[in-house]
Symmetry: D2
Subunit: 367 residues, 4 copies
């Protein structure tokens, strides 16, 4: 153990011994297996013992082999809460024993992009956890640039709800609500009622829109959306979502359309329902181009945005959760022990059938 | 003559007698012919005797038959300066005898869109001049909603320069520079060095960009752009504009890309040269869809905008012209008597061969 | 009756006959008396038959003689809802028979200030109703620039609640909430729990602040504030409001302090509780200077704003009321027939004793 | 020398031996004397060998005893450029041998204030150089949080001009121009034509104001201001500055008033010349309160700001200097060897008599 690190008992020293982790072994292959515990590598690192983690839709994409930056042998996961067990000698903002939220975006805080608030494009970070470095679906994880990439969990904070702040809530809020510029009284449509679309719905309410229309193919998710405050829901299976939105808006269209799926078809719904002056906020991860109807949109004064979440609003979101105005634990439908993560993937991978939104992975305190 | 109007001598009363005008007679056909003088129709109207007008690229599109809202018999033109000869009884902001700038956008100032500053989508106006009502390439023109659609020309104002504020300068400024959010030190690329692209170039300098790269197929226009302050020019004929921009920006791309042509190919250049966090401001009029490379852009934090000019910045532009910081008359390459407008169209219609940018039409003071 | 106006039955034609009105006769003197019915004077005027009106704190100031622009003989009142009974020939946005909300700010929509959204400083309007022209505490009122100064009441709209949109709600929202730049999670303090302070409280919730601290001398009003969502209340009678706020905020101070009283002492509380980077939004009407502690504030990165309400957010507020997110009728504590307006003034003038917030004046439909 | 630092030849190792420095010894007392060379104390530190420094008006205030946080024995100075001679093991953005600009504001980049872009209020920094830790008027200086507090000097960068980016230019730009929200065509007044006021003047031109009125008591400085682009100058010695500004603005007042002196009297000029909707940007350091004329301003829709420079715009300013649009070396009037700093203080301390703006201190490369 290096002299620049600190250790607390009774946890075995990070950097020695092994731990269990969910490891990607190429398309379709994953295992819960032994891996060396992570150690401090840079003076700005911290090592965290996970207490709560979760699975993201992106993890399923990785398992399909759709994310080439993830290579076999990688520990997956970019969301979690845990206890700091070790810090490098340049870390000053978190200390051993602190309970911390892990941001899905690692950021140095000092490069040109970080200085502009674009942590997503940090020269020394960005989305690297469970992607180009080992992630959070494990007993321990090393977090680079710990001071900027971890957030203290407020005393009494509910881990199941707060772990949604690792990724899904800032993603919905920044890419959907802020980029969409939702204003009081606005008419908002959200295409996609999965966990991300629901996170957009929940956080859109910070700005008191007049109505929020939710569009999806899954009636169960639309029912959940109604419970979360959607003022209208549309099942788009009949191909008439655009007509329905135009009817609901008296032929005007919406002020804000949020794309939360990631396909040309759902993008097309969004661009077809925008009122003049409207905002189209893309949240979905796209694998192919879409057609942009510039011949109709060139004179419509629209704004279209894309964004990889920067997590710059995490401090704001923590304050709103603290105030009780946001209950992110609403998104949790299933709970597993971390050691049952293989089963958790099976459930989450059959989300429609299982009526799954977010699945919680709890790590036992002692081992 | 109705009692609610006012008359000045020695001009013959608008509303009686005839005048000369440039009339569209279907695709490819135009004539300089006699038409009745316009009269006040609504209490908010004014009638203007034109002293200076000009021709817009849009007028050429109309003549090709590309703008179906323009029907045969229509007097063309949506740019001009003139003298007020008659006002309705609810007009209070301009008076008979005032010299006024005519905005290409007619706006009531009181509908929901006008209240948001979106004059382009005014419920009772928008772009109607030389489109759905008779326009400015004539000796007289009726301007609805005169108080909101005319601007007093400052004493001593140069008409040749100021007539550029009818359309081209607010278009370049609002759709290109403001929507592109040009900031001091930024790297800007403008695709298209025609009059509109040059208007973007001129007005981008209000915000002190660090460099402005101009891209076009016409070396003459690129030379003009250099004279107007472009820091680099690229002739895109070899299909390597994207590579050249990436070289010039050290592989990063530009902060702002302005599309000032209106084709899928030029749009594609713009989306291919954006730095993360960049803005793509569309100014061009598009006749067909473009492909949007969402598979590359979804995580690039970009903002794409479209806009029909609102002319809400006309008061600001008038102040900047008054201060001497902007010399819009630089854009004028040819001058004709209004009565030679048929010849002026020939010249403007062969812009490349004639090295034409904007052509001025001067109306004789007495008749 | 002029030919350019329209008449509906059974109402007697505006512009002929008399009506009842509350008239100011110099400091301390008011009467409910006969006055000529107002007629259309300009083509942009409308005449409204009041159905609901209310009394503003400013009316009490006028009665004390504190507002020199108001001269004896003036009909008071700048808030109300009613039915259009007559319009000038240039009015196109409202029609005879429409139910309309009267804005306390009259605006032409076309002067330089109106074009900037500063209706409060309209060259031909501003706050003139019940000030320099006759107001709304009457059976009929003439509204200049009707198209821009009236708003259609949505079908089914509750007049008692909507009449709060004439003045108090846009004042609280624009001068307090928007100028204060309230953001999700913010800590807000509002000094003054009268109707205006409570309007700030209600509309601050459009942006989901984390906590709202209400400060006043009247325990009853503080109780009301708690019912309206204040998360903490402070009775400042002991002179320790600043200390209490600093305790509540862990020594940091507030993100937004709203001054809703109009005295040097309450202003001083506001400037003493600001966190670095905080906003001080002045809403109160001040009769004398205040001391600005620049020796403490020069390096605190604060923003201080003043504003006379512009009512540019009235369309937004109407949408939020329609959505059910705002119940402005909560502010109503007393109801009178318009013909009992003298008694209503007695009640409103003893607000503390009467536990009065807003008093409603209802005009009988038939006469 | 610790093992976590790096050394370049032929410079003697920082952290061993002595150097010369300008030391404060209580009110009125300063000396150029031997001091130990600074060493790395934290892993985020760097040590810089100064090549260029300068003196700030604040240094004169310190010498008068006006800044109690500065205690005897302190090395003064918070501006400079130099060569990195040593870095802590967590520093990654600058390397030994790099030429760097030292920001007057030290910032960790990761505390709550830094994350909001308020480096001035950094929990671990802020204005500490030459204040609570030793400063830059010395042969060497230790810079904490080096990655966020130093900026690489572009190749070929002119040190005399660039050293103005340590403090004066970001101060003028952020506190005056950005906080004042200068827009194209605006009328701007700057009260105070010292170095800071002139920095406001220079950087205001990034936004193309229509006119800039400069107000001071010193005709020489006003002449300089005219050379720098002021469109009008007013010597306020006769107490009629307000009247003169109102004449120049046709009775309207200015869009932006910048206070760049720090006295109640100059603040009062600023608040008296604001147009409705105007911005008052305070830049001056104030020692006492000012009277705020709320009885006149409450309904004028004004915005008043204060700010300690955050230096968040330093990257933007570097880009603008690189583009040639800003020549900050214009502000340099005198040059001294660093070893003549005692004489340089004499000159700068008699700025009016010496016609001094900024004095440059050059350190000899070898010793």
């Amino acid at each position: 153990m290096s002299t620049d690190t600190v250790l607390i008992e009774p946890v075995a020293p990070a950097g020695s011994g092994t731990m269990k982790a969910l490891v990607y072994h190429g398309p379709g292959k994953r295992a819960w297996e032994d891996r060396p515990k992570p150690a401090i590598q840079e003076p700005t690192d911290a090592v965290i013992r996970l207490t709560t983690a979760t699975i993201c839709g992106t993890d399923l994409h990785i398992l399909k082999g759709d994310v080439p930056s993830v290579t076999p042998g990688r520990i997956l996961g970019h969301e979690g809460i845990g206890i700091v067990v070790n810090v490098g000698n340049a870390v000053t903002g978190v200390h051993v024993g602190d309970r911390v939220l892990i941001s899905c975006i690692t950021s140095c805080g000092k490069c040109d992009y970080c200085k502009k608030g674009m942590y997503s494009h940090c020269r020394a970070g960005g989305w690297i956890l469970g992607n180009t470095i080992d992630g959070t679906q494990a007993e321990f994880v090393r977090i680079p640039h710990a001071d900027n990439s971890l957030y203290l969990v407020p005393p009494g904070g509910d881990e199941e709800g707060l772990v949604m702040l690792s990724d899904i809530l800032p993603t919905g809020f920044e890419c959907g609500v802020l980029n969409g510029a939702v204003k009081p009284g606005d008419t908002v449509a959200i295409v996609g009622a999965g966990p991300i679309g629901l996170a957009v719905l929940l956080t859109s309410q910070f700005y008191s829109p007049g109505s929020v229309i939710m569009i999806d193919l899954d009636d169960n998710r639309l029912r959940v959306a109604q419970g979360f405050g959607a003022t209208a829901v549309i099942n788009s299976a009949d191909g008439k979502a655009v007509e329905r939105v135009m009817e609901l808006t008296g032929g005007t269209g919406v002020d804000v359309a949020v794309e939360a799926v990631g396909t040309p078809a759902t993008f097309d719904i969004c661009q077809s329902i925008l009122a003049p002056g409207g905002h189209l906020a893309n949240v979905g991860v796209h694998g192919k181009p879409a057609q942009l109807r510039l011949e109709k949109l060139w004179d419509r004064n629209i704004t279209l945005t894309t964004r990889l979440v920067d997590t710059v609003t995490t401090p704001m979101l923590l304050k709103v959760v603290q105030s009780g105005k946001l209950q992110p634990s609403k998104l949790v439908t299933h709970r597993f022990a971390l050691s049952d993560v293989m089963k958790a993937y099976d459930t989450f991978g059959n989300a429609a059938k299982e009526s799954a939104l977010k699945v919680i992975l709890k790590n036992q305190p002692a081992r």
